[in-house]
Amino acid sequence: MSLSTTGIPTVRPPRRSILDPVRLPKIAMAIAAAGFFVIFFFWPLLDVVLRSISIDGVWDWSQPQLTLDHYLTILQDDYLHLVEWRTVVLAVNSTLLALLLGFPTAYFISRLPGRAAGIVLLLILIPFQVSIVVRLFAVTSILSPNGLLSQASQALGGERFSLLYTQGGTLVGTVMYLLPYMILILYSGMTGIDHNVILAAKTMGASGFQIFIKVFLPLVRTSILSGALLCFILALSFFIVPAILGGPQEQTVAVYIQQQIDLFEWGVASALGVVLLAATLILYVAVIRIGGGFQAPGVGGQAKGVSAEQRFTWSAGTVTTGVLTLISLLVLLLPVLIVFPLSVGETQTVVFPPRGFTLEWYGEALTTDTWLDPIARSLLVATLTGLASTALALYLARVVQTAKSERTKVIISGLAFAPIITPAILLAIGIYAVELRLNLAGTIPGLVFAHTLVSFPLAFAIVNTALASRGLDLETAAWTMGASRISAFWTVTVRGMIPVMLSAFGLAFVTSWDEVVLALFLQTGPVKTLPVTIYQYLESGIVPTVPAIAALLTLLVIAVIITQRIIQSRRSRSAILADQK
């Protein structure tokens, strides 16, 4: 995400005293935004750091007592060594696998003509947008002893086996989670290359292999490093998949942290959280240094396709990458598709293939409070989060765009992205500790604040890019026609950005709707949000309404994405028509 800013010099209104009432709204907004950040981002981080160096993990301001015991435990404890080693191995392996599958897939899609590329991208975006707990449910039913894999093996004369609670199972689940990130980052890097550069190498006599090594790879290097870094960071502090697929035998650092918090052992848990954060930051800086920048995954995942001049041909390269693309699609789509047959079985236990056919579970899921309450709660939390995130994003983007000093711009946009780089498990325990003190834990506002922290960066990215590309020209034009600064902002800039604000809201809404880790920690009452409810069934045992809910959620994502695409293509078609007139 490049943070381009307009750099159009704006005329400042005359300097007024800080106490001038005209400046009050501005100051109030600044204080609100800063306060939000301090309370829900800096304080939680500080709290975790302080706990990690206190005896018993409880910091006492009146009698501060420093200890490094918890860090020493991390270094010395044999069991923790095993957990740490397992975490790093999982992160390395899943990143490598994601790269091995993601690179050829992204390459293959980038070679396809526009329409076909769009369809394949859609097949990747749909599983990407389906909540991780839904996909996780599907994966458990594929990997279980009665699952698809085991049955396929038996049908081929092999043995009945289970990948649940094994390293292999955790790896499969993690790769499934990381793969879309990797593909989208690499794809946007590859389509960003000017095709003429490749042609230029051709005219100078370079063979296909030489072009790949000397031109193509160096040009996508930043994307490869960014993709690998993002996947590695995500995998390192990954919580949900190892917690369910790894089980107690295959604990990773994040799972261990959660277990310790459950036991009120804050010291070691906090120290591990700080170590995760440090590792993340070091990796992040390293990649920026080596790769010359960090490229976040494209939000839209638009298919660019190749021009009419470069026809798609089946060659050794496209056949190989095409086969690997099929494997990627299988890994991504199988868990999404299997929820449908699972949801229509008549039996009380969920089995594949389903026995009989019934839609009874859908009816039950949509009529009992077991599901209706979580759905209502999720809708409420996600709506409030969407509104708060969009407002905060608009305010910060505005500050960035009108800021005069380059440093202010960099600092604010850096701060805006900081929450999504921070490991979720660390934020979860930090915010949990802070909200316990503020009596916010377990309340809906408490969850909305926490979700806003992780949802608004994406909204900010969209709004900021849109504001930057619009520039201040239109607003300045409105000034020349006599509009006040405030009315010009609302009637020209905000009005014109309604589609952008809607997609920012949508993105924040979806982030909150799917969020599990924060919601798991911060909800203490009996009613939880929808993903957490599913997560708890995954822990305790599946009931037949779970696949029905999973299928409904998947259908919802498919419907939303396809509607979006139709609207988009309508718009671009009418744009083409307008051009022809």
């Binding site: 550069v197 042609l199 190498a201 005219t203 100078m204 006599g205 160096p218 001049e309 026809r311």
Partner: protein, 371 residues
């Protein structure tokens, strides 16, 4: 012997390009219709045409960058239709330059040489030569993003010429630059092409560029090459209404052929008879269009006052007259249409609304078949 040494050995001009009956379709639309073209070795040839006329497509077909439907391409007498781009021994300058963003200026220039296994001192020498030729020595270690548009353009040129290609293909290389820089770099491209004794095929939509640079040019429209010739010949004797209009301003008069002799063709337009330049043989009595350039026309208050050597062609009214620096541009109209005349700026600016007689220099107007 590698192609790099071939040039030095033969010393003569090379790079004759013959395009024979090329037809090209993009998703069902025909963008080139059985196009023929012969470019001589060492020639600077320009393909001139509006956007969408197929000139870039033709250039890319010569480079082997586009699959086409039928026809053949030959370079120096050997058929290269099925030869991949890599082996065609060409240089290509892209409109957006397409410099390798991860390589420095010197590395960009060295790229093709390294591919051809030129190493060590020979490589360094050739890169230095190219840097000197393109006057980029001081910038050799910069990356493309640190260069101005004109500098990038020179890198692209140096990179394309480094391996001594037989043919240099240029796709609107000056299109992204401002007018002043275009003129300077244009003459530089011409100089470098002459010094390196390479055939150049140059695509542009800018007629001035075409006039300044080319030995010969081809005017393209809608997938056809309409006319080929030296810039001056094509300008003064266009063979169609499209070419006449595309190359500068022109005035058209409906006319009818009344006679033909050795001095030219007499045509009647309205009440007047005018002698057109010799050219296309048209049967007496056939309808045609008389086309005259604005600078070949004079104005006078009456038919009798027309200057010597000029023949009256229409009675008109002056609708607009403006000072244009070197000329005075006068717009005129009669019941058949509107006209444009360029007068010497030393003359008085005519009064709007006054009647006048247009007369055209004898044997300068051309006849075009009426479609």
């Amino acid at each position: 012997m590698s192609p790099t040494h071939a040039a030095a050995a033969t010393g003569g001009k090379r790079g004759e390009v013959v395009v024979d009956g090329i037809t090209c379709d993009f998703s069902g639309t025909r963008v080139l219709h059985e196009t023929d073209l012969a470019v001589q070795a060492g020639e600077f040839f320009t393909l001139l045409g509006p956007s969408g006329s197929g000139k870039t497509t033709l250039l890319r077909i010569i480079a082997g960058l586009i699959d086409f439907t039928s026809g053949s391409v030959a370079i120096d007498g050997s058929d290269v239709t099925h030869l991949p781009t890599q082996q065609r021994d060409i240089g290509f300058v892209f409109q957006n330059y397409a410099l390798f963003p991860h390589l420095t200026v010197a590395q960009n220039i060295a790229f093709g040489l390294k591919i051809r296994k030129v190493r060590g001192a020979a490589l360094a020498k050739r890169v230095d030569e190219m840097l000197e030729l393109t006057e980029l020595g001081a910038l050799r270690d910069r990356h493309p993003s640190q260069l101005s548009g004109g500098q990038q353009q020179r890198v692209a040129l140096g990179r394309a010429l480094a391996q001594r290609p037989r043919v240099l293909l240029l796709d609107e290389p000056l299109g992204a630059l401002d007018r002043r820089l275009r003129q300077d770099l244009g003459s530089e491209i011409r100089r470098i092409q002459q010094e390196s004794e390479t055939t150049a095929i140059y695509v542009t939509h800018d007629q001035e560029e075409a006039y300044i640079l080319s030995d010969r040019m081809g005017v393209m429209e809608a997938g056809y090459i309409r006319q080929v010739g030296a810039p001056r010949d094509v300008y003064s004797a266009p063979n169609s209404k499209f070419v006449a209009n595309f190359l500068g301003e022109t005035n058209s008069f409906g006319a009818e052929v009344v006679g033909q002799d050795r001095s030219g063709t007499q045509v009647r337009t309205g009440e007047f008879v005018v002698t057109a330049s010799e050219g296309q043989a048209l049967a007496v009595g056939s309808a045609c269009t008389l086309s005259a350039r604005p600078e070949q026309i004079r104005l006078s208050p009456s038919v009798e006052a027309a200057p010597a050597g000029f023949e009256a062609v229409a009675r008109v009214t002056i609708t607009d007259a403006r000072f244009f620096g070197q000329t005075i541009r006068v717009r005129l109209a009669d019941e058949r249409g509107t006209y444009l005349v360029d007068l010497d700026s030393a003359e008085a600016i005519p009064e709007v609304g006054t009647p006048a007689v247009m007369s055209v220099r004898a044997r300068s107007a051309v006849l075009l078949p009426t479609p």
